[in-house]
């Protein structure tokens, strides 16, 4: 298993645990968070856990672009990891407090940065995995 995949899976497991803890916390009557925590734990589970596991495993299992012996990890995979996780962390620490600090310019900038980081992560992942999703016929056609 490549190092970057291990990082994706371990980060995914952390988000999985945090997501279920937060979902449990949101149900406690004395917390009274309303719907503030709902988008946070849903994104922890769907983006932090499921998507991150899919990204990590696909980087590991999908056919490689270049069949080199060292099985080098692409810069794009590491970029995806750091962009996605920094975007998610910024989001998770800011989103629940939006109703209280929404007018603050710093908070608005953090939210915009988080959104851009997440889109950038998806773009780098697609750039990495799209050429690796190909059929035998096409590969033969290219090499011929």
């Amino acid at each position: 298993m490549p190092t970057v995949t291990r990082w994706f899976i371990k980060a995914g497991l952390i988000y999985f645990l945090m997501g279920v803890i937060l979902a449990f916390t949101a149900e406690l009557p004395f917390i009274n968070s309303g719907a503030l925590l709902l988008p946070v734990y849903w994104h922890m589970l769907v983006m932090g856990w499921l998507t991150q596991i899919i990204i990590g495993v696909s980087i590991w299992m999908f056919p490689r672009k270049w069949r080199d012996k060292k099985k080098r990890e692409s810069v794009l995979t590491w970029l995806t990891f750091w962009l996605l996780n920094s975007g998610l962390i910024l989001r998770f620490f800011t989103e629940p407090f939006l109703p209280f600090f929404n007018d603050t310019l710093t908070v608005q900038l953090i939210i915009i940065t988080s959104a851009i980081l997440q889109i950038a992560a998806i773009c780098t992942y697609i750039a990495e995995i799209w050429p690796r999703v190909h059929s035998k016929k096409r590969k033969r056609g290219v090499s011929a």
Partner: protein, 139 residues
Amino acid sequence: MMPTLSVWILRLSLVYLFITAISGSVLLIHKSIPLHPAAWSLLPIHFEMAIWGWLVQFVMGTAYWMFPRYLTGPKRGNEIFAVISVVLLNTGILLLISAPFISPDNAIKAISRLVIVVSVALFSASLWNRVLSYRRVPH
């Protein structure tokens, strides 16, 4: 090697992932800096595409590619069932996200859910016999 159908399914799921990320980012920014009153209408598009278009479809494409293949006959069984199920799934998703803009009642939404049910049933049927261990298959 990856079958052509899986290539299509996986690439479609990546397109949905991209649209999901864009719509999600617009919604996130809209929570902090109001962009447009209609921005919240992206919410159903965002989560339906994330669940059905990205997650479910990516898993379907990978399962169709990686599950054990038949030792005789077509390697992945009758491809027609899988093709129809993918066409139905994507028809269902597109109907589901366009339903609020086509009709205010729930009729189109219900039809799109039914289309997805038929798609999942067909896909499960086509994959059912590939859930096995080669150790139990007489060679």
